[in-house]
Symmetry: C2
Subunit: 182 residues, 2 copies
């Protein structure tokens, strides 16, 4: 395995830092990798007793568009992923949940970012209190039935890794008897 010989912080921002790692290969040649370190995040798939999934529309500055997304957010320092999931669900959609189930975790793009994302299913939903971050633009909340969600996923209507993984995996786990109509 190539040997890590140096690490240097190239940028230290509010949301992430960038660390440049230098490696030495067995033949003595060196190369660098720039690594974004934003911490880890949670995605929540809140599903009602009627099989409706709660989405939100959020303006995303990075890609300059309004996106249909699941509730999500960063895990605070010292916070465990479950607590972050409950907190973000209530803050962003005004919904509390009785029950959280871990669905999966993944690296979104590990060629340059160390971020890891945890997906939870939230059930036993009831009303809580919305409380947005000052800089967040969550425009509205929308419910879509899980069968319609699967159809949307297969028609490439969802633009985010998180939504595709959450919906497809949930459907395989809990609705496969539905046999998606190909």
């Amino acid at each position: 395995m190539n040997k890590l010989i140096n690490e240097e912080i190239k940028y230290d921002g509010f949301r992430f830092n960038v660390v440049q790692k230098t490696y030495e290969r067995e033949d003595g040649k060196t190369y660098t990798r720039d690594c974004v370190n934003p911490g880890d995040a949670v995605i929540i798939l809140p599903i009602t007793e009627n099989g409706e999934v709660i989405f939100e529309h959020q303006y995303r500055e990075v890609i300059e568009s309004v996106e249909l997304e699941l509730p999500a957010g960063m895990i605070d320092k010292g916070e465990n992923p479950e607590d972050a999931a409950k907190r973000e669900l209530e803050e962003e959609t005004g919904t509390k949940c009785d029950n959280l189930e871990f669905l999966t975790s993944y690296y979104p793009s590990c060629g340059y970012t160390s971020e890891k994302i945890y997906i939870y299913i939230a059930r036993g939903l009831s009303s809580g209190e919305k409380h947005f971050d000052d800089t967040e633009e969550i425009l509205d909340v929308q419910k879509i039935h899980i069968d319609e969600c699967l159809k949307m996923a297969m028609e490439n209507k969802f633009r985010h890794a998180s939504v595709n993984i959450a919906i497809l995996m949930y459907y395989f786990k809990y609705c496969n008897g539905g046999n998606y109509d190909r």
Copy 2:
């Protein structure tokens, strides 16, 4: 919508740059977003006539571990995604393909990175020539049957967004008659 009032390059690296965008809200308050711009990438799901998917093991410096992945790579400037998919498939696994089918595209984590990823199914496979990037550590190539892939996805054995999306979506589209055994 909040108004973009300034953009500043905070870091300009080989793999990506970091641009800080400043926005003004309707109430006059300002806030910033740090945006990573790495360009776009392709992921290839190469599948043989027997239903075996070609994976590779690659060392990922950013998370310091050996990862089981699908062939993937950046789209070069001026290159279209299909050409990038064919090129990366051959470079990384020594496999040519007769036929490419677009499966889906997604943003891996659009809270801070503008990267967009395109997934293609590659069929009609034959031997080509491997040609690694100097700094890539692709350790070996491994075939796994699509039924086993689905089982692995549902058991959280795949650690990457790309692999989960490609396998789950492929399975829904082409193998759902198999009815995954829950």
